[in-house]
């Protein structure tokens, strides 16, 4: 019995230690701002690697998700004779929920795993250590640009996802199912509020980008320097960040609907 309690305690301590490590890593990374002349190109490279290279998957999934929501929504709304409300339905569900969440999940799978694997491999092949011995701070040179790249890319990808999804629904609803384009847009405009819906969606995406990048960087940096360790780190990045995104989404939605 005592053994169980002890193992529970050990687990708890391990957990707290991990959170502490992650916090220390993050604060150090963010405090050691890269010097602008050298840091800026590095951040740009990371925005390219994490953002631009994720564009294709984001656009394709945005389009299809928009089309599916449009199709499903149309048939459901038609039962109530409210198919004119397809625009608001799609726009609100995409801008508030689907956009930030799906983008974050895709981002975790596409960019987060890549960050974790790359950093883990750099650690395993002693690139980080040799950097340190060359008096170059790996947190500043390697981790910080990846963090900023992720923080910047995520909201941008979400914006693009939102627009493609809305146009996907437009294609299905207006071009295919024959809704009136004017009603589609004007009903959407009447129910979507810029501050309440669009801006809140962007706030969510910023929070998700932060969490996903943080988890990816942490898992990579503290990965065990073996091939199994890196595989673990990549898996954990995707699993943990997906869970974190979904959980955080609930918390943020509650806050936004409740208080704001």
């Amino acid at each position: 019995m005592l053994n169980y309690i002890a193992s529970l305690g050990r687990f708890g301590m391990h957990l707290i230690q991990q959170y502490g490590q992650a916090g220390v890593l993050l604060s150090r990374t963010l405090l050691r701002l890269p010097n602008p002349r050298k840091g800026f190109p590095l951040v740009v490279q990371q925005v390219y690697a994490e953002g631009v290279l994720s564009l294709l998957i984001i656009i394709v999934s945005g389009l299809f998700i928009g089309m599916v929501v449009g199709l499903q929504g149309y048939h459901t709304l038609a039962k109530f004779g409210a198919s004119q409300e397809l625009g608001p339905l799609v726009a609100l569900s995409v801008v508030r929920e689907l956009g930030p969440v799906v983008t974050a999940l895709l981002f975790a799978g596409r960019a987060g795993s890549a960050i974790a694997a790359e950093i883990g491999l750099m650690k395993a092949t002693e690139q980080l250590s040799s950097m340190e011995m060359m008096a170059v701070d790996p947190l500043q040179r390697v981790i910080a640009p990846r963090c900023w790249g992720g923080f910047i890319s995520m909201p941008l990808l979400t914006l693009i996802f939102n627009v493609t999804a809305v146009y996907g629904a437009y294609l299905v609803g207006v071009k295919w199912l024959g809704l009136d384009a004017g009603a589609f847009w004007s009903n959407m405009q009447a129910s979507v509020d810029f501050n309440l819906d669009v801006v809140n969606g962007i706030i969510k995406s910023i929070a998700f980008g932060f969490v996903v990048t943080w988890i990816a960087v942490y898992q990579g940096y503290y990965a065990e320097p073996t091939s199994a360790g890196i595989a673990n780190a990549t898996t954990r990045t995707v699993v943990y960040s997906s869970l974190a995104v979904l959980g955080l989404d609930f918390v943020l939605t509650t806050m936004m609907i409740g208080g704001w």
Partner: protein, 168 residues
């Protein structure tokens, strides 16, 4: 590997695309344009019951949107809802005896205000009030009345109708 310059250009395009997306979301999806209420005028109307009418609900004539609701307040003296709406300046010749009704788009749709023009030769202007208003149709009330009509039996039919009519 791409050269730094190519990467910078591609990232620049990426940023640009995202900004365009933001603009589309702002103006096309959430209709932020109507925030800039330039060159319109404001009109007030008191309703007994506004139903689900909200700020930013549409104001229409014959189904064409000509403005939107900008403010909803409760009048502390009459207990009526005072709705302020903004009308586009090109609609500057609405007769001042026109009536305003709160209607619903479809069965489940949003409420909006429909203005039915009348025949006066003086027009609505900034700050004027629409006197003739029809409240929102509240589904529960209608059902309640309908049930009452059935239960109340055939004898009382006329009085029910009268009371409904009074209310409107």
């Amino acid at each position: 590997m791409l050269s730094q310059r190519t990467i910078e250009i591609v990232v620049g395009l990426f940023l640009l695309a995202a900004i365009c997306a933001l603009l589309v979301l702002a103006f096309k999806v959430s209709g932020l344009t109507t925030f800039f209420h330039s060159g319109g005028y404001r009109v007030e109307a008191d309703f007994d019951d506004i139903g689900q009418l909200k700020v930013r609900s549409a104001v229409k004539i014959s189904g064409v949107t000509i403005g939107e609701v900008t403010r909803i307040q409760l009048d502390p003296n009459t207990y009526q809802a005072k709705v302020t709406m903004w009308l586009n300046s090109y609609m500057n010749a609405i007769p001042d005896d026109s009536s305003a009704a709160i209607l619903t788009a479809g069965l489940l749709g949003d409420n909006y205000i429909e203005i039915s023009p009348m025949y006066s030769h003086t027009f609505l202007h900034n700050g004027s009030e629409i006197k003739d208003t029809k409240s929102a149709m509240i589904l529960e009330k209608l059902i309640g009345q309908f049930l009452f009509k059935i239960n109340g039996g055939n004898g009382d039919k006329t009085s029910t109708e009268k009371s409904t009519g009074d209310k409107k």
